[in-house]
């Protein structure tokens, strides 16, 4: 059987169905193998406490990776999320620290993130500038702005604000609940709504999408705004978890982590293919890898070498999957 067949034939028995899933998302195999290896070698990887830790760390990544993946599917990308995360956290933290109600504080942070998204989206979608250079420029500019506006670390945001990062909803940490919601919303949006189909169409063939009457500017523009907002939300969550935020370091390098999770999850950088379950796997892969290496007490530089190699190995497997548009 070739890869193309899998799209033509529908598996009937559960085993075949499972196989088809694995073929579509081969990262599942790598992830499972990795988890098993970590559990066997450390004995504590699968402890509930550790899993909870991984989930909380992965939550902020997932919240940003989902809209970022939609953006990549539609043929764009956003490298500015690392700085937007910092700005969002700073604005939310400052408002919370000034005694504003937490909801207002978070809303303020989100507005700042959305504003960055608006600038990115306008420049990339309406003026048609290179998303790579524009968002890289914004990465630098927004970081500078954040440091200019908030030169000193902020901390002490009050217990109301701490809810965002610390509360447990039915035993699950609030960030994880938010991330689950974002993942589900993203997956349903992509699979079930017309706009979800349009995102694929724009990513594959902008011209054809345009001629089919699809608004090829507004949809990616909206995705830029959503991505900016999501980054700010992640920033607010991080600020809440740490009860502090530093303009210079918060979210540094996050943009590459997000993009890596997205690409590992099988989203093509050229646009037009990918899936949200894939992105979830990419996020879990990165989260587990980091955690497992720390648990194993691997020396720093070996951690780096292993991480790099694992990235390559992960994408090697992901490559053998047929491209997905559902």
């Amino acid at each position: 059987m070739t890869a193309a067949d899998s799209a033509l034939t529908r598996p009937r028995v559960p085993l075949a169905r499972a196989l088809a899933v694995v073929r579509r998302q081969p990262l599942i195999v790598v992830l499972t193998a990795m988890v098993l290896a970590f559990q066997l070698s450390t004995g504590s990887f699968l402890d509930p406490a550790n899993l909870r830790g991984i989930a909380t760390d992965a939550a902020t990544l997932a919240i940003v990776a989902v809209p970022a993946a939609l953006l990549v599917i539609s043929g764009y990308l956003d490298l500015s999320v690392g700085s937007t995360l910092a700005l969002g956290g700073l604005v939310a933290g400052r408002l919370a620290g000034q005694g504003q109600p937490p909801v207002l504080a978070v809303a303020g942070g989100l507005a700042a993130g959305a504003a960055v998204g608006v600038v990115n989206g306008f420049l990339c979608c309406y003026l048609g500038l290179s998303a790579f250079v524009v968002t890289l420029g914004m990465l630098t500019a927004v970081r500078g702005l954040a440091q200019q506006l908030f030169p000193l670390p902020l901390s002490g945001f009050g217990s109301g604000f701490a809810w965002l990062g610390g509360a447990r909803i039915a035993g699950v940490a609030a960030p994880v609940v938010i991330a689950a919601f974002v993942l589900a919303a993203g997956a349903l949006f992509l699979a079930l709504t017309p706009a979800g189909r349009h995102i694929f169409a724009i990513g594959v063939n902008r011209e054809a999408a345009h001629l089919s009457g699809i608004n090829i500017r507004r949809i990616p523009f909206t995705l830029f705004v959503v991505t900016g907002t999501a980054a700010a939300l992640a920033g607010a969550i991080k600020a809440s978890v740490l009860d502090s935020v530093v303009a210079g370091t918060s979210g540094a390098g996050f943009e590459l982590t997000v993009l890596t999770a997205v690409l590992l999850g099988g989203v093509a950088l050229t646009g037009g293919s990918g899936s949200i379950p894939g992105v979830l796997l990419g996020v879990l892969f990165l989260g587990s890898l980091q955690n497992g290496l720390t648990l194993l007490d691997v020396p720093t530089f070996w951690q780096q070498i292993t991480q790099g190699t694992a990235l390559v190995a992960g994408t090697a497997l992901a490559y053998f999957a047929p491209s997905t548009a559902r």
Partner: protein, 549 residues
């Protein structure tokens, strides 16, 4: 007087210094099929792109259903009631057939796509255009012809008052063209205004109520009623009295005794996924056609010979050398070249200039001590542009800015120039989209390649006229095998068409029947059936039943 559905007045459009459209007036009343003709680069597609909102005209107005526009966005064009099939397909490969058909006008229920309703509707539409693909197939995995049919189904799915088709049959074989012609006749009867662009005069004769001919962006001929002779049209398109049209423009007398020379290409029991075993020979200087229905395996055979697909058995010999080409580069080294059918995906480099497009594989052979011979390149390009009638003959103009027919000439020119020494030339739909005049030129060039240099020419074509004009011998392909062959005086259009029909009904009628049922039921197992139906490569030669459920 009947009501006018579509009218353009003084429509003009320039690209840089080039006037692609120059004050074009076109009037299409309801219930009329209006043929829009003209040489390659005359401005037909430009006119259509103005209608579809791909770009704004510089001057003039477009009236649709009583409203007048100076420019349209694609959305406005659709909302105004126009359904357009552009020359370069605008389907999205990553999406399914259904999703493509409803792209931009999804059927929504409770905020989500009503997939079931869409698939049912799509199945009906596909049946009406005689497509054999399933509504759930990924478009990227479909052959070119099926993609064209999806595009047509997409246009039909819109409740439009104006239908515009830009060379819709260029990638279709006779059976699908027939089915399309019937749809066009239906829609005319329903009162649509239809603009139909084609280079095939037989289609004009069958369908057109009125004809407008463009020449260099201006209307050069217009007749509001049917009943013009083919000769008149050719004259209007070419801008002068046509040369003596020859039955066999290569100048070879077609003798029953052919082949005279030793075999140049010999294929023995060749098999590959979805076709074979195939055995055939092409002699030195011989021109052999492959004729069959869409999906009969011609493209796969040619691609396998060229090393683009893996063989699962059999031998290929060029002269007395056995060739086992795992990559196109190896086939080329062995003297085999292929002009692919899917111009956009497999042939063209849209962003590169015309000269780079035409000469890409010749740059290295022309180079001296590793440095490009720029002057020689320019000279070869000039000669080639002349030979195929490229217009405009500008070496640096990006290929994307050429008209469809001229792009085809660029892709053809890549192999039929003086630099490449070829033993075997494989052509897949060589003249799709090429105008009447240039087509004769291309036949002449190909024939002289065969006659003067002794190359073996093997080409696939869906146009019986082309087979009769160019081939010394024709092999009928069905379900991936050679079923019969014709040569000499037997080789007539009628013989070809009936042979295909016979082959179709005798080889695999059952698959087609099952297929149609599956579509009608929108059964969950349709996908699996689709796989087999496509592999067996059959299609309904009989017109499909009307009124799908």
């Amino acid at each position: 007087m009947t009501q006018v559905n579509l009218r353009t007045r003084g429509l003009s459009k320039s690209f840089g210094g080039v006037r692609a459209l120059d004050g074009v007036d076109l009037t299409v009343p309801t219930g009329q099929v209006h043929a829009l003709l003209g040489h390659n680069g005359a401005g037909k597609s430009t006119l259509i792109k103005c209608l579809g909102g791909a770009f704004p005209p510089d001057a003039g107005t477009i009236e649709v259903g009583g409203t007048s526009y100076t420019r349209l966005s694609p959305r406005e064009s659709i909302d105004a009631g126009m359904a357009i099939i552009f020359q370069s397909l605008s389907v999205v490969g990553a999406l399914t057939v259904t999703e493509n058909i409803f792209l931009g006008q999804e059927r929504v229920r409770y905020g989500r796509i009503d997939r079931r309703a869409q698939e049912e509707a799509a199945a009906g539409l596909l049946k009406r255009v005689a497509a054999i693909c399933s509504p759930r197939d990924r478009v990227a995995e479909l052959p070119l012809g099926q993609r064209q049919l999806v595009e047509i189904a997409k246009a039909l799915s819109r409740r439009a008052s104006v239908l515009v088709l830009d060379e819709p049959t260029a990638a279709l074989s006779a059976a699908e063209s027939d089915a399309l012609a019937e749809r066009v006749e239906d829609l005319r009867a329903q009162g649509l205004a239809i603009v139909y662009v084609t280079h095939l005069l037989s289609e004009v004769e069958r369908l057109a109520d009125a004809v407008t001919v463009l020449r260099d962006g201006r209307v050069s001929h217009h007749s509001a009623v049917a009943g013009h002779s083919r000769r008149e049209l050719v004259e209007a398109i070419a801008g002068g009295p046509p040369e003596q049209t020859r039955e066999n423009p290569g100048g070879h007398p077609r003798e029953p005794a052919w082949p005279a020379g030793p075999p140049r290409l010999a294929v023995e029991a060749l098999r590959g996924p979805g076709f074979g075993p195939v055995s055939l020979t092409v002699a030195e200087g011989e021109r052999v056609a492959l004729f069959g229905l869409i999906g009969s395996g011609r493209t796969r055979l040619l691609e396998t010979l060229f090393g683009r697909r893996r063989t699962t058995g059999g031998t290929i010999r060029v002269g007395d050398r056995t060739v086992t080409a795992a990559r196109p580069a190896e086939a080329l080294a062995a003297g085999i070249a292929l002009v692919p059918a899917d111009r956009r995906a497999q042939g063209l480099f849209p962003g590169l200039g015309a000269q780079d497009n035409a000469l890409l594989p010749s740059i290295r052979p022309l180079a001296r001590t590793g440095v490009r011979a720029l002057r020689a390149e320019r000279r070869v390009f000039g000669a080639l542009a002349e030979a195929v009638g490229l217009r405009p003959a500008r070496p640096r103009l990006p290929a994307a800015a050429f008209s469809g027919g001229n792009q085809q000439k660029l892709v053809l020119g890549r192999w039929i120039n003086e630099v490449r020494q070829l033993d075997v030339l494989l052509l897949d739909e060589p003249t799709q989209g090429v105008d009447v005049g240039a087509r004769q030129e291309i036949y002449r060039v190909v024939s002289s390649l065969a006659a003067d240099r002794g190359a073996a020419v093997l080409f696939a074509s869906s146009d019986p006229e082309e087979v009769v004009s160019l081939a010394d011998r024709c092999l009928i392909i069905a379900a991936g095998r050679v079923v019969t062959e014709f040569s000499g005086p037997e080789l007539t259009e009628g013989a070809l068409l009936s042979a295909v029909h016979d082959a179709d009904t005798s080889t695999a009628g059952t698959g087609t029947g099952a297929r149609a049922d599956a579509d009608a039921d929108a059964d969950a197992d349709a996908d699996a059936e689709g796989g087999t139906a496509r592999t067996s490569g059959t299609s309904t030669a009989t017109p499909p039943a009307e009124g799908a459920p």
